[in-house]
């Protein structure tokens, strides 16, 4: 089983609005619907944030993004408890050491 830390982290953000930047430079804004162990992401009510050089997404409202093509997931700062995240990461690191 993979590292569950970020999977759990993203699960806690389901329902929030995020912007996913892909490795092909496409940026998609949407509501986080679900995530899985591979950090594949499903977004609903999407909109392409950058100037719409990508017209093919016009008739798409929901999408599934393969985890391997994500470069960044942009989150509003107030949705993230960085202290909690740091503690969780520290704990995970300790467990991995043993």
């Amino acid at each position: 089983m993979f590292w569950l830390l970020f999977y759990s982290f993203f699960k806690s953000l389901v329902g929030k609005d995020v912007v996913v930047e892909l490795k092909n430079d496409l940026s998609i804004c949407g509501t986080l619907h679900s995530v899985d162990q591979y950090l594949n992401i499903k977004l609903t009510d999407i909109s392409v944030t950058d100037p719409e050089k990508y017209p093919h997404m016009l008739s798409v409202k929901n999408c599934f993004i393969r985890g391997s093509v994500v470069r960044y997931v942009q989150l509003p700062a107030d949705e993230v408890d960085t202290q909690l995240l740091q503690d969780a990461a520290r704990k995970e690191a300790m467990q991995q050491k043993q």
């Binding site: 995530v35 093919h56 008739s59």
Partner: protein
């Protein structure tokens, strides 16, 4: 991808019309018939859609099996939104011609850029996009 609630499963997307963006930049549109844990897909009545500006052209491709590592994204096509598209459909020959001129213009711009960088003693290495699992 598994059958647990709350996970990003493609199981509910089966038999619906989808747009698939591939890593090589191609766009496929078809009915999703089958999936697996690697996001390998089977698309039925697939069409390869080429976009140039506000025009597009569809090339019928039949049944496609797409290896998951090549999938960028899978979007469910909202049939209502699709009917109100501002894009203009043209013939295959026309869109291929438009695409050819677009690629040519891009190549020339790229060539000019690399030359300008070279003149300054710089270079941009190409990104390797291999799967990392």
């Amino acid at each position: 991808m598994n059958y647990m609630p709350g996970t990003a499963s493609l199981i509910e997307d089966i038999d619906k019309k989808h747009l698939v963006l591939l890593r090589d930049g191609r766009t496929l549109i078809g009915f999703l018939r089958s999936i697996d844990q690697f996001a390998n897909l089977v698309l039925h009545q697939t069409v390869e859609r080429i976009h140039v500006g506000k025009k597009y052209g569809d090339i019928p491709r039949g049944i496609f099996i797409v290896r998951g590592e090549n999938v960028v994204l899978l979007g469910e096509i909202d049939l209502e939104k699709e009917s109100e598209t501002v894009l203009q459909q043209v013939s295959i020959e026309e869109i291929l011609e438009e695409q050819r001129s677009q690629q040519q213009a891009k190549q020339e711009a790229e060539k000019a850029k690399t030359q300008a960088l070279k003149d300054r003693g710089l270079s941009i290495p190409r990104v390797d996009m291999l799967d990392e699992y």
